[in-house]
């Protein structure tokens, strides 16, 4: 028997921007509807055509988990929608062998007027479960959702968290042979997410084939042994997850760990400053792709300073996390003793920012680096999203999270000083 669960050959999808962007109105295109009722003429290429996917070919062996990554608009969702038969490809062919289940959102088919109980039945059926199957698993689903007596309350009165729990509980009990998932893990509270990821891994171990689309790199690294990177609707790389994730981080958001300008002439900036190089250096060496959360990280920035005149430029680093939140901005003027002396005509200025260990949170950090004068405000040179690195929390009881292994939210994860004392207490 064939052990390929999914094969795609030359899949492509074209959207007609003009047509899709606006609802048609009869008065506008009644004539078209009469002369060309089935849009035959529209199948020809026009200027407003947009290829969301082009020539996508890959095979997925039964029982493996494949992640699909790429920037917004790279075609990930379109690919998933084609595989889930929600939309049809313009060209190409795909074959899926086995019962297909797709989870493109949490709580598919929920109706706000119906109770939780009723929605479990409805959503289960829409997602492809048999009635008998839903009834058999009903108690388990309700227990997994953990929403107590709210099960008999209309879903419109639920908090968004409860809705997600119920929706995921239904999804978690689907038993397809091929599971297509999109982003659904990006919702819900931390503990529940953990529970869901656990359930997903179980599914993976159960010999099921998974196609997983996500932005969350840790989830992809945990779930998938192989990943496909899409860019502008095309497959860029297809290979082991770690390798593909690295490529993605490089191509999409600057290089990993370091960047340098080719030469002074082509470097961007003015006479005051042109960035020369940026390096992320974990203390004691190591891979900037997986920096231990306990390690100090040095960010070393060099720029050419031809002629600052009377200006006093300073190097500043801006750290953004995966959610686009600015973690902090810092300037090299903090070195008050050396900063004024170092910035002088005809020199290469090197500033190093020391980020202590146990300070940044786990996850990806994207650096923007600038050299600017603040009075008057002039940005001499800016490199946005130029270098990325990844902080990994592998602490074993000696980190901020101690023995706690579940989700630990927070933009930063600083190890702060505490004082603990006690005094006698009597009634």
């Amino acid at each position: 028997m064939n052990d390929v669960a999914l094969s795609a050959t030359g899949l492509a999808k074209k959207y007609r921007l003009g047509n899709v962007a606006s609802y048609g109105r009869l008065s506008e295109s009644l004539w078209n509807a009469i002369t060309d009722p089935f849009g035959r003429k529209h199948t020809q290429d026009t200027a407003s055509d947009f290829w969301a996917l082009r020539d996508i070919s890959f095979e997925v062996p039964r029982g493996s988990a494949v992640g699909v990554i790429g920037r917004n608009g790279a075609g990930k969702s379109t690919l998933l929608k084609i595989l889930a038969r929600i939309t049809s490809p313009t060209l190409g062919r795909a074959e899926l062998r086995g019962r297909v289940g797709s989870l493109l959102e949490v709580g598919t088919g929920f109706h706000p007027e119906l109770t939780g109980r009723e929605n479990v039945l409805l959503s289960g059926a829409i997602l492809g479960m048999r009635r008998a199957e839903i009834l058999r698993k009903f108690d388990e689903i309700v227990a997994f959702a953990d929403i107590g007596q709210f099960i008999d309350v209309p879903v419109k009165r639920y908090s968004s968290g409860m809705k997600v729990r119920l929706g995921f509980a239904v999804a978690a009990f689907l038993e397809p042979e091929i599971l297509l998932i999109d982003e659904v893990l990006a919702v819900g509270d931390g503990e529940f997410q953990k529970k869901c990821l656990g359930k997903m891994s179980e599914i993976g171990k159960g010999g099921r084939t998974i196609i997983f689309v996500a932005h969350s790199m840790p989830a992809i690294l945990r779930l998938c042994d192989r990943a496909i990177l899409l860019d502008h609707g095309k497959v860029v790389v297809d290979g082991p997850t770690a390798q593909v994730v690295r490529r993605y981080l490089e191509s999409d958001l600057g290089r990993i760990g370091e960047w340098s300008a080719p030469d002074y002439e082509t470097a961007l900036g003015d006479d005051v400053a042109k960035l020369k190089s940026i390096r992320v250096l974990p203390l004691g060496g190591g891979n900037p792709e997986e920096i231990d959360i306990r390690k100090q990280i040095d960010i070393e920035v060099e720029y050419w300073c031809k002629n600052p005149g009377s200006l006093r430029p300073s190097t500043n680093v801006h750290l953004y996390n995966d959610d686009g939140v600015c973690v902090f901005i810092n300037n090299d003027w903090n070195d008050r003793k050396n900063w004024p002396k170092a910035v002088k005509a005809g020199s290469i200025v090197k500033s190093t920012c020391h980020i202590p260990g146990n300070f940044l949170a786990e996850g990806r950090i994207i650096l923007t680096v600038a050299v600017s004068t603040f009075n008057p405000l002039i940005a001499h040179t800016v490199e946005r999203d130029v270098v990325a690195f990844q902080v990994v929390d592998r602490s074993e009881g000696d980190g901020v999270r101690g023995e706690f292994t579940n989700e630990w939210p927070g933009v930063v994860r600083p190890m702060l000083d505490w004082d603990v004392e006690s005094r006698p207490w009597k009634k």
Binding site: S88, G92, L127
Partner: protein
């Protein structure tokens, strides 16, 4: 042209060997009724959902299925019913009009529901696959219960006027099915058009008003000049309403009307299904 899903027989390792082939589709396809049948459980769930949702947070609930035709009966009795020769002699006008309104209401409400079913189902259409035909079909199906309730009210009206049904009542299901086929045909077609042209939403109530006066609901078809009778019978609801009334109240069986209307109705359904299947693959992109 290949079918969507080819279910092959069992395999060596216990995994089902369901094969799904995804391809761009061109041209006409089979009508998709087989796929509806294989998803009948989900169809039932959609019917059940529509029923539940329709009468949630209402005081009168399913009683609305009676209130509407009864109110219309009263209005037509005191207005149109006073005109000379509007109904056949020997049949009380309220009974006459109620017997027409019952199948008409089934048709009108299911058509209205079906034509909006896809647009209302946008959230699921863009998120998961199932045969899209289930949505207009379920919409129509959910009005069958209302129909039975209103049928009960019709029985009361008959008793009130001292009528007892004859053996002809056995034909009643046939005309009910014909009403459903017509509603399915027009409703399925309009639901697909509605995906792209939201004008349908505004057109349908208006269309139904005109259509009602173009069907023998509040007047007898004998009012139509014989020269126009054939054309008149091409309106499927002509045969449905006249046949329905004949099965309940008796009189001459309007064979010609029923025959032509039935053909028109089936032709419309086949055309509607073919059109629906043809444009179905673009729903998620256009809706």
């Amino acid at each position: 042209m290949s079918p969507d899903t080819v279910a092959a027989s069992g395999s060596a390792c216990g995994a089902s060997q369901e094969l799904v082939v995804i391809e761009p589709r061109h041209g006409w396809r089979e009508l998709g009724l087989r796929e509806v049948w294989s998803h009948r459980e989900l169809l039932f769930f959609f019917v059940w959902r529509d029923l539940k949702v329709r009468y949630k947070q209402t005081v009168f609930g399913a009683a609305w299925a009676v209130i509407q035709p009864v109110a219309l009966m009263l209005i037509f009795t005191v207005t149109v019913g006073r005109l000379p020769n509007v109904g056949p002699a020997g049949i009380p006008y309220p009974l006459f009009v109620f017997a027409g309104l019952t199948p008409w209401t089934l048709f009108a409400s299911s058509l209205g529901g079906a034509s909006n079913s896809l647009v209302n189902g946008e959230a699921v259409i863009t998120k998961v696959y199932f045969p899209r035909l289930l949505l207009p079909f379920a919409s129509v199906g959910s009005f069958i219960l209302d129909f039975f309730i209103s049928l009960g009210a019709l029985a009361v009206v008959m008793v009130w006027f001292g009528r007892t049904p004859t053996l002809e009542i056995l034909w009643l299901p046939a005309f009910t099915i014909l009403a459903l086929v017509t509603a399915l045909g027009v409703g399925t077609f309009l639901s697909a058009v509605n995906v792209k042209y939201r004008d349908v939403k505004y057109m349908v109530p208006f269309l139904l008003q005109l259509w009602m006066f173009g069907s023998p609901v509040v007047y007898a078809s004998t009012l139509i000049p014989p020269s126009l009778r054939t054309l008149y019978a091409l309106n499927p609801m002509t045969g449905v309403v006249e046949g329905f009334r004949w099965a309940l109240i008796g009189g001459d069986r309007p064979d010609d009307l029923i025959f032509l209307s039935a053909i028109a109705s089936v032709v419309m359904l086949v055309f509607a299904l073919a059109y629906f299947r043809r444009v179905e693959q673009t729903f998620a992109d256009v809706i």
